[in-house]
Amino acid sequence: MPAIAGPSSSPQKHVVGSRSESIGGVRSAEVNTSRKRKLISDSAAEVSATVVLPVNSISTPMKWKSPRRCAVSIPKTSDEEIKEDSNEKLENPVISVCLEVKSKWNPKDDEQMKAVKEALHVSKAPSTVVCREDEQRRVFEFVKGCMEQKKAGSLYICGCPGTGKSLSMEKVRLQAEEWAKQAGLHCPETVSVNCTSLTKSTDIFSKILGNYESGKKANGSFSPLQQLQRLFSQKQQQSRSKMMLIIADEMDYLITRDRGVLHELFMLTTLPLSRCILIGTVFCVINVHFLKSVSYGQTSFKFKVRICPPGVANAIDLADRFLPKLKSLNCKPLVVTFRAYSKDQILRILQERLVALPFVAFQSNALEICARKVSAASGDMRKALCVCRSALEILEIEVRGSIDQEPKGPVPECQVVKMDHMIAALSKTFKSPIVDTIQSLPQHQQIIVCSAAKAFRGSKKDRTIAELNKLYLEICKSSMITPAGITEFSNMCTVLNDQGILKLSLARDDKLKRVSLRVDEADITFALKEIRFFRNCLL
């Protein structure tokens, strides 16, 4: 339990050290740097340290591992991060300079507040997609290539959630239309489908067909897929020479047991159509769990697969199982991966969104800490936006409170979202509430948690409810408490299961259910240490 032994030092590690988390395992550095950092970071960090830290310091190891794994998979980023860290450049003057020219922001003004919130909302698509130029270019080149040669192709895009896949595809689509106009080609027809909204997976073919065939009578005797196949393999008249761009979002929802639909979709791009002038493009973006596919009409499919965050077995697994098969079918899609955003990218995107506003709402280092923390945890842009918004709300409440309380008091010079607001928001988002939860449990449930901690102290990883009950009864007896009955006991175990503290396996018989602990024993010890009653029990 060393992590808990020094609560005073571990706090900074988590609050300020969020960036160090991303350094993928440079653990030794953390201890040294964290002290320094603490000095540098302003009072805000200290405030948060006192408030937030006890909680953070005990967060489960699991939580912190996954981001690290993530970072490792992108070695380039971690190198940069290390450099950054060693420089200890916390305030980034370069970026903030350009912002400071702008007028002052007044958070009391509803209009302005609204504008900021809107700018930060997920649904607001920025006019330009920054930090994804490279991927966008590759996708666009691919589309362009297909359109120029009038051949089909497929592309598979994969990437973690919140890394701008759908957004980029939308831009590519517009770009392609623009380009086609300039190049004097037919504008490609576009079908955008979100596969989650299909009621069954084969519906995608009727969607494609519906778009493709708008004028033609439906041929009742063939399934949409058969019709499509015929279309693409038979000679067509000239008029149909348009390409079709099919963008299928969350493509993994098309996976059926035999993966037939997905294969057929990709196979569409390989149908022999050179004589057919008609070109569609199918472009598929497959997220790991999901895909987007853009298919280029007749023969060309674009397919993007994206890699999923570690932990989703399904995702990588999918690409592995799925791509070789396609290769054997001679339609291996080009794969484009959208990496999780790095800290710099998140920062840039946030600034890009805010730069359009005529005033400064965020301190630059507040944005930076947000970017660092989010990139370390998941690199999910949606999350970064949510954190910013909640920091904004914290400020809003603060401002309103100060107005209510002392209307005549001296108004603080500059009301912007500062470090401390951001840190409060981050801790709200990323903190693990386990310790709080344990401390607020009813007493008998605490006893169960305590007995579970004892039970799993050894090498044994799980026990049945009956065994746990025995331990529980022991503790109750030793402290002269009337124990709850066995049915009540298993009820309480279910509640603890819901709260994510215990894990109950399914079993027919209540008594035979296996119990295992889902939180770190150290967390439990720390949480219960405060309560005198448990001090003896835990020894």
Binding site: A125, T196, T199, F290, P442, Q443, H444, D498, Q499
Partner: protein, 809 residues
């Protein structure tokens, strides 16, 4: 005897009842005699029906002379002196009408009179098709039915206009094309419009006046009709203002004895007459088909109208003025709606069913009405012939059944404090206020207000979690209630609120239908609903006419919606991230880590707004209970504290605390009544709470073990004894039996024999007190106690029959 009664009797079963009135009337005005629709139980609900009956009777009274034709009717009407109506109830019934008309009203009796009746034998000839009044009526046709007696006589004098007047020039030409406004249903000549229209435009068209009204201006200059010209109302207008009825012909027959043609009508209702009133989604021309039948005379039928199902209705844009839409059936008993399956074929069965039920009920109502009518005849002046009928068709609740309502205050004795306490502690009782959750409620309010207050509503999502019984749902609901009050006060812009409980859905996908129904009022299959919702939220198309309002979606038990590929949750949580969705999602579940269990792309869309409802601590529970009991002096303070501490230590579930207190109140009530001492302190004391807690927390297995048979007790004792001796949880029947026999021997009990013992073991196994293998293993059968031996020992210890058992425990 009432004529309603008579007519009913005539129609249905008891010929003996056809009465005197029939005679009287028959020579006076045969036509009106039979007009009276029979009293049916359905009359209870719709006001319209009741007024119909009333008017009918007036008609009877006022038209004593046989009227050969319309013209003569008018004359008679003109010379008739106004008569006063003594029956004020009738007047009250008519409060709907603008004018209470003291004049004698008459019904425009259709000129062709059926032959006079001859015999009173009840014989009927049924037809499929009847030509009446030069029009053919067939079974299944829809017709207008008049209810005119109380209508304005001036208006009645006019011929019902076949063609409605233009709203601008107030003339009706037959040769110009008229267009109908989809909002006010007014008719306009194409060339009267400014600018004039050449042809009827495609799609919906709204007249200039309605457009102005819609744009928010209150001052609308509507052209006034020229002086002296009366606005003639078409039948459609009368129907929609409930001065006429529409009905479907279900049966047609002629009474052989008097030659009067009858129809059995199945009524249509306009939306205003349903329990819900007119809803936003009701179209102007929408009608509901009811399961309310009546037998009426052919004379009341005015002419055909056309009620169509939505599909046909959409095609029927040129079919004239008498086209209506009927999409739902309305059950007048239950006030419920259901979609008309297929108007043509599907509903045969249900008709049968309803018919059947009706017949049964008719008997019943017959008698009651008889009684009622007699009363009314007595009460109202006899001189009025119409008076006998005057109360027909009115709904008097219990009175109708011939009973007098017992006044509330007589019936209920004064509630004692304990009873009041029991009532307020019921879980179903909504508390007046919610203590201890103000912080959470504030947060929810801030969240919702923050989301919907701006005109540009930004979609968001909040996840609320907490253990059961911590007030999650009720907090959200009370927040919504407060918000609703604010909407009415105008400080918050209006929104629509859809509440869904995941556990009440037949399957997770059904949530789409429920949401869609909540937004539009139409029930469709989930696939269709998903498509429409996608259009609405992702592409920003509107559902129905209006829907600019933000939508708040409350999903209780969110975790039930987690399907294998989680697409339902994905869709629901993806919508708020779309630009024009205006959707705010509040999800409630017990599990704290639900978002972490979901696919990353879903938790990414869920956002980071979380709200935790922790278990209550004992102080909070105490406050909750005492707020509920405010003003009721029934509990000792310590008793409440004891209950709340006990619950807080185990689960912190407010429901359970309330249950314990309620049970304690019951126990106390029982105790006080039994002791029969009018104690000054009728308070619930600690001991009562203790008893309640024992009942609640003590597992049922102890109760079972306490009440098992004597031999079973010995058997269990032997098992416990065996367990103590060997220390092994599992034992075999062989060994238990040996122990039993030795125990019995020592204590002078007769050993029951192995077979019986085996049976006892299996019985105990059935109720899961012991776990045992099937009985065929006999001696080798393995047995194990299902509960801790302490529990068993505790249950068996204090036994009067077998005190010696304690020695072995």
């Amino acid at each position: 005897m009432a004529s309603s009664l008579s007519s009913k009797a005539k129609t249905f079963k008891s010929p003996t009842k056809t009465p005197t009135k029939m005679y009287r009337k028959s020579y006076l005005s045969p036509s009106s005699t039979s007009l009276t629709p029979p009293q049916t139980p359905e009359t209870l609900t719709p006001l319209r029906r009741s007024s119909r009956h009333v008017s009918r009777k007036i008609n009877l009274g006022n038209d004593p002379i046989d009227l050969p034709g319309k013209e003569s009717v008018e004359e008679i009407n003109l010379i008739r002196k106004p008569r006063k109506r003594t029956n004020d109830i009738v007047v009250a019934e008519k409060s709907k009408k603008k004018k209470i008309d003291p004049e004698v009203s008459f019904s425009p009796v259709s000129p062709i009179r059926s032959e006079t009746k001859k015999t009173k034998k009840k014989k009927r000839v049924y037809y499929n098709k009847v030509e009446f009044d030069e029009t053919e009526f067939e079974i299944g046709d829809d017709v207008y039915v008049k209810r005119t007696e109380d209508a304005n006589p001036d208006e009645e004098e006019e011929e019902d206009p076949e063609i409605e007047d233009c709203q601008i020039c107030f003339k009706s030409h037959t040769n110009t094309i008229m267009i109908e406004c989809d909002d006010c249903l007014g008719g306009f000549h194409l060339n009267c419009l400014k600018p004039p229209l050449k042809e009827v435009p495609e799609g919906d068209w709204i007249c200039q006046f309605c457009e102005v009204k819609k744009s928010g201006q209150t001052l609308v200059v509507v052209p006034k009709p020229p002086e002296g010209k009366k606005l003639a109302r078409t039948m459609k207008e009368k129907l929609l203002s409930s001065d006429l009825w529409a009905a479907r012909i279900e049966k047609l027959w002629k009474e052989v004895d008097d030659g009067v043609y009858w129809i059995r009508a199945r009524w249509y209702m306009i939306p205003e007459e349903t329990v819900l009133g007119r809803q936003r989604h009701n179209l102007k021309r929408e009608l509901y088909l009811t399961n309310d039948f009546a037998d009426i005379e052919m004379e009341c039928v005015l002419r055909h109208c056309f009620v169509k199902c939505p599909k046909e209705f959409s095609k029927a844009s040129n079919d004239g003025d008498d086209v209506f839409l009927c999409e739902y059936e309305y059950d007048v008993h239950w006030g419920s709606f259901k979609r008309v399956a297929e108007l043509a074929d599907g509903d045969e069965d249900s008709d049968q069913e309803w018919n059947g039920r009706k017949e049964e009920e008719i008997d019943y109502s017959d008698e009651e009405i008889e009684f009622d009518d007699e009363e009314s005849v007595r009460g109202v002046s006899k001189s009025k012939r119409g008076g006998a009928n005057s109360r027909k068709g009115r709904f008097f609740g219990l009175e109708k059944v011939g009973m007098k309502r017992i006044p509330e205050h007589v019936r209920c004795h004064k509630q004692s404090e304990l009873e009041k306490a029991k009532a307020t502690l019921l879980l179903a009782t909504r508390p007046k206020s919610l203590p201890c959750r103000s912080k959470e409620m504030e947060e929810i309010t801030a969240f919702i207000k923050g989301s919907i207050s701006d005109d540009q509503c930004l979609g968001r999502c909040m996840y609320i979690h907490g253990v059961p019984g911590t007030g999650k749902t009720i907090s959200v609901l009370s927040v919504m209630k407060n918000l609703k009050a604010e909407v009415e006060a105008g400080s918050v812009s209006p929104y629509c609120f859809v509440e869904i409980n995941g556990l009440k859905l037949a399957s997770p996908e059904n949530i789409y239908s429920v949401i869609y129904e909540g937004l539009s009022g139409h029930r469709v299959g989930w696939k269709k609903a998903l498509q429409s919702l996608n259009e609405r939220f992702a592409e920003g198309k509107k559902i129905g006419k209006e829907n600019e309002k933000p939508c708040i979606l409350l999903i209780d038990e969110l975790d039930v919606l987690v399907t294998r590929n989680q697409s339902v949750l994905y869709n629901i949580l993806d919508w708020p991230t779309k630009p024009n969705s205006k959707l705010v999602v509040l999800g409630i579940a017990n599990t704290m880590d639900l978002p972490e269990k979901l696919l990353p792309r879903i938790s990414s869309r869920m956002g980071i707004q979380r709200l935790c409802f922790g278990p209550y601590n004992h102080r909070q529970l105490q406050e909750i209970i005492s707020t509920r009991l405010e003003g009721i002096n029934a509990f000792e303070k310590t008793a409440i504290e004891f209950a709340s501490r006990k619950v807080a230590a185990i689960s912190g579930d407010a429901r359970r605390a309330l249950e314990i207190c309620r049970r304690a109140a019951e126990v106390a009530d029982y105790r006080l009544k039994k002791s029969n001492i009018s104690a000054k302190s009728q308070l619930v004391i600690m001991a009562d709470v203790e008893v309640a807690i024992q009942e609640m927390f003590q597992a049922p297995h102890i109760q079972v073990m306490k009440s098992v048979s004597k031999l079973s007790r010995i058997f269990l004792t032997a098992m416990v004894h065996e367990l103590y001796k060997t220390g092994m949880a599992e034992t075999s029947f062989d060994r238990v039996a040996t122990t039993v026999s030795s125990i019995c021997l020592t204590n002078g009990e007769a050993f029951p024999g192995w077979d019986i013992l085996l049976k006892i073991g299996c019985d105990l196994g059935e109720c899961r007190i012991v776990l045992c293998e099937p009985g065929e293993k006999h001696r080798l059968q393995k047995l194990q106690l299902n509960f801790p031996s302490d529990d068993v020992a505790f249950a068996l210890k204090d036994n009067k029959d077998l005190p010696w058992l304690a020695n072995y425990l």
